[in-house]
């Protein structure tokens, strides 16, 4: 493989603590190496430019059945958004729910190289893998959902952690999944009867278990296995005024639990898209930001990480395994509603949504997301996301950087709101003058998520030995710039390397890369009871046979397996 030497760039690398110093980065055999290890490298002059590791997205809905439902039922999302086939680029289309090809290219254009699919219904794992396979360049993994799974509900009702862990290990292997995702624990099972679980103590119909038991039990099972990532949480009561108390109640379930993982993470719960979970008030008339309360908790508890779920003020497509929420949303906005309940496992819904700057609530949501990041004491634990495409499409990450790095940009946005004064009253953002620097941005978009995923040994930094995922942006942090310069520069990486292959050259896609699919193979002691339960449920309640369930072979043409030994 070709060797590269990226010379004289301003490097931002939290892993090595480099804060914009002029440093050379060397690439050989797909890895970062010491500059002395190169023999005849191709030299890339990065003088006056910003150099960072490839971006890592901890939570995005980019592949799988509900994403495709969003594509297929929104032809309007493709209007004016297509891109014709040119050179090595295949046809691309879609704005909020781009085609897989565009997803890969658009992430690469922003300098991102690793993206985690946030919710994989196990029965639809093949579909999710087919889409990831057809998403070029990116390394990807997918989180199967566990929070409404009948096995999990039955085991955790009796606090059978070992059995729950054995089942998790089995399902991760069967679906080639990466982590334990929990979405509206118990609530989506309740939704199969048209009901919901509104708080952590609201029992699940029939199964007689509370969301609190599910959450705590899954954290414990996750730590029993010592998986690379922590339990990945979408709490109950998403999107409702006053829901911050449910969020705090959910956070508290992690108290006293310490991480047990050799993969270097410090958290036992990652709570995703916290913006949607930080609302005060008791109606849409008096909804207000509770980001201060939420961040006070997060800042003082280092076994939690979160991501933002930043509203970008676009027309977008919401999609989640939180089936009851999507029904609630379609009742609110009266737009089309797709729903799929999945036998024994989960459910999901999809509804288009317009986050209008002329609507007070949307503007409040926008402010709350930014507050979360700006109130963070430790940017290594608070990550930039839009919960793509729920709060907005991922292509807006550079715009979020602009808002986070510039009070001027935030003021411009405030001035564009129809209900500016009401929004300022209901939020804290106008009183926050913090401006993040690129080092903090690199923590929130690279080193932080990589560490939380248990992938700090591969991604997130530029230390020798890490994967050669390197982005070079045409941005000089030491020269004066306008806020929009940030968005322009970070929206179009000048060069990008993925595992040592140059995939973006002079702002253009130069290669389809060598995409890998990450999954976790957790070995556990033989557990005859769980295997008997699996056989029984497939025989009696599933509509596919056990032998036709496991995803293998051509669905993962280039797998990267992370082995975990939980036998004891």
């Amino acid at each position: 493989m070709a060797e590269y030497l990226i010379k004289n760039g301003f490097v931002f690398d939290p892993v090595q603590g480099i804060k914009g110093d002029k440093t050379d980065v060397a690439i050989k055999d797909g890895k970062i190496v010491a500059t002395t290890a190169l023999s005849s490298p191709k030299v890339i002059d990065a003088a006056g430019k910003t150099v960072m590791a490839g971006g890592v997205d901890v939570h995005a809905h980019v592949a799988g059945p509900k994403v495709n439902a969003g594509r297929n039922f929104r032809p309007e999302d493709k209007l004016f958004g297509y891109k014709a086939q040119t050179g090595i680029e295949r046809m691309q289309g879609g704005f909020s729910v781009p085609t897989t090809i565009r997803t890969g290219y658009n992430y690469a254009r922003m300098g991102y190289t690793t993206v985690m699919e946030a919710a994989m219904p196990p029965l639809y794992a093949r579909h999710t893998h087919e889409e990831m396979r057809d998403t070029p360049i990116l390394d990807q993994g997918a989180y199967p959902v566990f929070g409404n799974n009948w096995f999990v509900l039955e085991y955790l009702k009796n606090h059978e952690i070992e059995n729950a862990a054995a089942y998790i290990a089995w399902l991760l292997r069967a679906t080639k999944g990466y982590a334990v995702k929990v979405v509206n624990p118990g609530g989506t099972e309740a939704w199969a009867w048209g009901l919901n679980c509104d708080n952590v103590h609201d029992p699940v119909p029939y199964f007689d278990i509370t969301p609190a038991q599910i959450i705590k039990g899954l954290i414990e099972a996750n730590e029993y296995l010592g998986l690379p990532h922590s339990m990945h949480m979408h709490a109950n009561n998403l999107g409702n005024p006053g829901n911050y108390t449910t969020t705090l109640d959910s956070f508290k379930l992690s108290e006293g639990i310490k991480p047990n993982s050799k993969f270097g993470r410090d958290q036992v719960m990652h709570h995703t898209h916290v913006q949607f979970h930080s609302y005060g008030g008791d109606s849409w008339a008096n909804v207000e930001s509770k980001a201060k309360d939420i961040m006070a908790y997060v800042n003082s508890h280092d076994n939690i990480t979160i991501d933002m779920g930043q509203v970008t003020l676009d027309e977008t497509t919401t999609m989640t395994a939180d089936g009851p929420f999507e029904h609630h949303l379609t009742e609110l906005n009266h737009l089309k509603w797709a729903n799929t309940d999945v036998e024994l496992e989960t459910g999901s819904g999809v509804v288009p949504y317009v986050y209008s700057p002329s609507i007070k609530v949307c503007a409040i949501q926008w402010a709350i997301g930014l507050e979360l990041a700006l109130l963070a004491n430790d940017p290594m634990r608070v990550f930039m996301t839009t919960d793509h495409p729920n709060a907005g499409p991922f292509i807006r990450y550079p715009r979020i950087m602009k808002w986070l790095m510039s009070t001027e940009a935030r003021e411009q946005q405030f001035d564009a709101f129809k209900h500016k004064d009401k929004v300022i009253d209901a939020t804290n953002l106008a009183g926050i003058d913090r401006e993040l620097d690129l080092y903090e941005i690199a923590q929130m978009t690279r080193a932080g998520p990589a560490k939380a995923l248990g992938l700090a040994h591969m991604y997130g930094g530029l230390a020798p030995g890490l994967e050669a995922d390197v982005a070079i942006y045409d941005f000089n942090p030491n020269e004066p710039y306008a806020p929009d310069d940030i968005e322009t520069a970070f929206g179009s990486a000048e060069h990008l390397f993925k595992t040592g292959v140059q995939v973006v050259r002079d702002h253009e896609i130069a290669s389809n890369g060598n995409k890998r699919t990450l999954w976790v193979n957790a070995k556990v002691n033989e557990n005859p009871q769980v295997m008997r339960d699996v056989k029984e449920k497939f025989l009696r309640y599933y509509t596919v046979t056990l032998n036709n369930y496991e995803v293998t072979g051509h669905y993962l043409p280039n797998p990267y397996v992370i082995e975990v030994d939980a036998t004891q």
């Binding site: 891109k83 596919v544 051509h554």
Partner: protein, 437 residues
């Protein structure tokens, strides 16, 4: 000695049964018996063993007779036909695996084809309705485990999806449905007294073409508003009663078929059927599902969904994907003479398209890829027989509820026969050569 292969997936209809057992000879070359399948499914497996099966490509001669050609020649003819055409139609894609659909799509991009599948004459109207109003649905296991109200509208699974009722809908005993069919109320709405209707608790014999009115009447009845004495041939008392039956269920499922998708009203029928389902979710839990026909028509909609964002009628001829049913749908293109070559794989438009469209296929260069001799192969210039997907090769297929299942190879295809995917890969490579890439 023989071998029994279990957990075999049936590549016939959208029910995609995956519990078949197939007995094959010890050398894996001969398929002897099929268990658990319906009559149609079993026939599909057994038909692969026909002694008079065509195993090599054929080209039609001037005098109308067939001449055997090699796969290479067939690849070359197909590639040249597609590369030379200004706007070829690549139709079918419903009786093959997703891998072939994927390669076919790459070909479509390379030559600027219009990609269309059998939904165009089947559930395409349902797909349009979903784009209008969405679709609350579920997997078939949810029906099996929870549903206590089953409504079949304009479909006849007793004949079209023979194992649907026993595996998923009427008879199975699931987790919350331990009483099987005795715990369920079945309503059939169909102008014909079908065999499915004979199994129902209630058969509402709607007047032909009046489905929209009856669905609308259900919405009125749910709200307790006044109905005329008779709607669509059904007395109002029966409508109120059926509405009440649905509302009082714990879990309602509506299955619908071609009786509503392709009769008067088309997508509007489905629009309002989905609206009925949305209404029911105000009172209880309800879902609705199209009874998809071919075993992987759903899959082709998924593949094109993630590649282009549209489930059928995808026009790639301008270098990017466009979708405009009525304009980019196969019959409209054929009958307006807008396509200048036709490629058919995994479908039989010769048997199912209007005669005026079939004549157009006959009038231009056309290639059919199909394991069988069909009415379509009869109007094409080249017929390329291939291995049966799900019998002689595996690959992914999507059930009517969008659940993907990997089909199984149970026997070897006849010596030297290509699969859909292999043939398409050769065509793609040849097209790239022709285009100088």
């Amino acid at each position: 000695m023989t071998k029994t292969v279990t957990d075999v997936i049936c590549p016939f209809c959208g029910t995609l049964c995956d519990d078949l057992e197939v007995v094959v000879s010890d050398d894996g070359k001969e398929l002897l018996e099929v268990y658990n399948a319906c009559a149609i499914g079993a026939e599909k497996f057994l038909h692969s063993q026909a002694k008079d099966r065509i195993t090599r490509p054929r080209m039609r001669q001037e005098d109308g007779s067939w001449k055997e050609i090699s796969y290479d020649e067939a690849v070359d003819y197909t590639a040249k036909m597609l590369a030379d055409a200004k706007k070829p139609l690549m139709y079918g894609w419903s009786s093959t695996n997703c891998e072939a659909q994927s390669v076919g799509s790459e070909i479509g991009e390379a030559v600027g084809a219009v990609m269309d599948n059998t939904a165009t004459v089947c559930h395409g109207t349902s797909l349009i309705a979903v784009q209008d109003i969405g679709i609350p649905s579920c997997t078939l296991g949810e029906v099996k485990n929870r549903a206590d109200r089953i409504l079949f509208w304009g479909c006849n699974p007793a004949h079209a999806h023979p194992r649907h009722m026993s595996r998923y809908s009427i008879f199975p005993r699931g987790f919350f449905t331990g009483k099987g069919h005795t715990g369920r109320k079945v309503i059939v709405i169909d102008p014909r007294p079908t065999d499915t209707a004979s199994l129902a608790d209630v058969h509402l014999q709607v007047e032909q073409g009046r489905d929209y009115e009856l669905l609308s009447a259900f919405r009125i009845a749910f709200r307790g508003e006044q109905l005329p004495d008779v709607v669509a041939g059904i007395p109002k008392e029966q409508i109120y009663e059926a509405a009440e039956t649905l509302k009082s269920g714990r879990f309602v499922i509506i299955f619908f078929g071609m009786g509503v998708t392709q009769s008067l009203g088309k997508n509007h029928n489905i629009d309002i059927a989905i609206a009925v389902t949305r209404d029911l979710n105000e009172y209880t839990k309800a879902a609705i599902m199209p009874m998809r026909g071919h075993y992987n028509v759903t899959g082709s909609g998924q593949v094109w969904g993630w590649l282009y964002g549209f489930p059928y009628a995808v026009d790639l001829s301008r270098g990017f994907a466009r979708y405009n049913p009525g304009e980019t749908t196969s019959n409209d293109l054929l009958r307006r003479d807008e396509v200048d070559a036709v490629f058919v794989l995994g479908s039989d438009p010769g048997a199912h398209f209007p005669f005026s469209s079939v004549k157009k296929i006959y009038d231009r260069p056309a290639v059919a890829i199909d394991p069988h001799e069909t009415p379509t192969t009869e109007v094409c210039n080249v017929h390329v027989p291939v291995a049966f997907v799900g019998v002689e090769t595996g690959g992914c297929a999507y059930r009517m509820d969008n659940v993907p299942i990997e089909t199984r190879k149970v026997v070897e295809p006849p010596e030297g026969m290509m699969t859909d995917e292999e043939f398409l890969k050769h065509v793609l490579a040849r097209i790239k050569e022709i285009k100088g890439e």
